[in-house]
């Protein structure tokens, strides 16, 4: 998950055994998904796909992976290429996992490997057409996992709980006090502090922002959000939070917003029809969620 993950269930004492079984199920499902979709695990399906890039060989995929890739393609089209799971090749230059920076003069060679049009997707197989291409589902993986966890909780009959995967959150029902869950949105200038609090019930919220992971390049801290069209870290909003019924939708909308200049980000967010909050690099806070929040 790349960060702390927790699942909380509120239930009567009589349902404790069922709740414990459900948490085990959720845990196993999350491990399963990470083993399949994480590019950081060498035996994962995504890693297999990446190793075969340029070989002409398709890798067999299941329905879940196929639909996630179709969703990525839709997002890539709708965002005019800003959301691009093939931007994983940029790891050769910007490695946020290890904290190292490659030679930025090699960007043009790496950019030739980026572009979702190079992903050949069939009903049960996928192939990356050029050697060196890489798929990275990090843009939707954690949010999808949060939605799956929430779905498992609902199917098991539990109506109150909270799924929090490193800040990608799904709230089910009310909290212990019978009120909506209070979710703090981080201040991007002081990440340890909550900028404001939003009440969430039967909904999801996801936040994207450059402050989560950074690298030093010269005198600057650069964000982990990279523009796949230029290969360089972006200088858009400091953070964008979006609330929606599902975490994947919220996360996808907020991620793309963070890759755009402020004005374009605002248009994109308004186009989504969802409630959002945007923090500019200057610290200005705007959006419908601001009116609904408490400081």
């Amino acid at each position: 998950m790349g960060g702390p993950a927790q699942v909380r269930l509120i239930h009567p004492p009589s349902e404790t055994p069922a709740a414990e079984r459900l948490l085990d199920t959720v845990g196993h499902r999350m491990v399963e998904m990470e083993a399949k979709l994480s590019r950081y695990q060498p035996d994962s399906l995504v890693s297999q796909i990446n190793r075969r890039a340029g070989s002409g060989r398709y890798t067999r995929i299941d329905t879940e992976t196929r639909q996630l890739l179709e969703t990525c393609r839709t997002l890539w089209q709708e965002s005019d290429g800003l959301f691009d799971p093939t931007a994983g090749a940029l790891r050769q230059i910007w490695d946020f996992q290890s904290g190292s920076i490659g030679d930025p003069t090699e960007l043009s060679e790496v950019l030739a490997l980026i572009g979702f049009e190079g992903v050949s997707l069939h009903h049960d197989g996928v192939m990356l057409e050029k050697s060196g291409m890489e798929l990275d589902l990090g843009g939707i993986g954690k949010e999808y996992a949060a939605d799956v966890a929430a779905s498992l909780i609902r199917e098991a009959g539990f109506t109150q709980g909270l799924v929090d995967f490193a800040g990608d959150i799904v709230a089910l029902g009310n909290n212990y006090t019978g009120a909506a869950w209070d979710i703090g949105i981080r201040d991007p200038s002081i990440p340890e502090r909550a900028l404001l609090t939003v009440a969430l019930k039967d909904a999801a919220i996801a936040t994207s922002g450059g402050y989560f992971r950074t690298l030093e390049h010269g005198p600057n801290q650069v964000s982990h959000l990279l523009d796949p069209r230029t290969g360089w870290p972006v200088t858009g909003p400091s953070s964008v939070s979006v609330a929606a019924r599902h975490c994947l939708i919220a996360g996808a909308i907020s991620t793309v917003a963070c890759l755009k200049p402020i004005d374009s980000a605002r248009e994109w967010l308004e186009r989504s029809g969802l409630d959002w909050l945007m923090v500019s690099p200057e610290g200005e806070v705007t959006g419908p969620l601001l009116e609904q929040s408490r400081s």
Partner: protein, 387 residues
Amino acid sequence: MSERTKTGFDSPLVRSIGATLSALPAYQSAFADAPPAFTEVGIRHSHYSEDSLDASAVIFGSRSRYDIDVTQLWIEAPVGGSWSVALDVQNDAMSGASPWFVGVGLDGEPGVVMSGASIKDNRVEVGVTTRYFWADGNAGLAISHSDEDDYRALSFAFDASWNSDDNARTWTASASRSNDTVTPVKERIPVFIDEESLQTQSLYFGVSQILSRTQIVRIGLSYTMSEGYLTDPYKFADHRPEDHDRWTLSSGYRQFYSALDGALQVDYRLYSDSWGTDSHTVEVGWHQNLGRHVLAPYLRYYTQSEADFFSPIANREADYYADDYRLSSYGALTAGLRWTVQLGDWQIETQAERYQSDGGWGLFSGEEAPALVDFWRATVGLTWRFD
């Protein structure tokens, strides 16, 4: 935060993303009403062949009955983020003979006089459907026109469905009207009308409920009213009322068994009409996933009571009369198998079905018609989906 978080379903952007997510279990109930994510083009061909009559049942004429070849072509495409449009074209090529009337054979038993030389007829139907999707439902408007040598029909239909807040329940309603014109061909057998018309109107209301991730149940009620010329012009002894009311109660249950990767399907239909016919239909099927293949065997039992004015040899002294086997009391069994395979963006489907009927298989009393039909039907289809 507002009481109800915005879904964004009114946004074409969110609906576009949701359309691809809708195939995943975690999102299925949420995005049930997104337009199709792909354009779909398909072609299907069916061959229907009725068994020849037993020689003992035929007084005069050919023992061969109808063969029908049906070819269907369709295309359905999303338009923007909230609309879809579909075009359907169907061609039916019919040949063969049908019972003209039932008389008394040399053995004193009812026997069939067939319609003489084999007829050939062709019907073409073209229909267009447009559908609009919104946050909690969708609605469609369909227009179709059907044309053959002796029959024309122009039909309109409107349907709409709404989802409950939790997306576990869907309400559906529809209404339709058809204006038909009958101009029977006179060259084959004597026909006593030049041109007649009839109108049919229909209403349907139903609800489906998701009981759990693996179970869904549905129930629906329909009412159909036809007025005008309802007699079969090609039957010598046939005079039917000029109105016909029909009620149908339909229900279905589906359950998926994850351990078997298969699903059970059970459907029941109850029918009753103003001509005195009641019927029951029960169908049980199983859908078995086998990798990219799906195998679906099914068994259907049908039983109906005879219409008030039916008799094996028509009583032409009565106000209304008919010897058409389709209005008699009988039971029927259908066994079929459907196989589909997904190959990339292509889907191939094949289906074979055997139907057999018998007066003694029904649950209702009545005299058996001598010309009950048995048939085979085979279907092959190809569908292509693309962005």
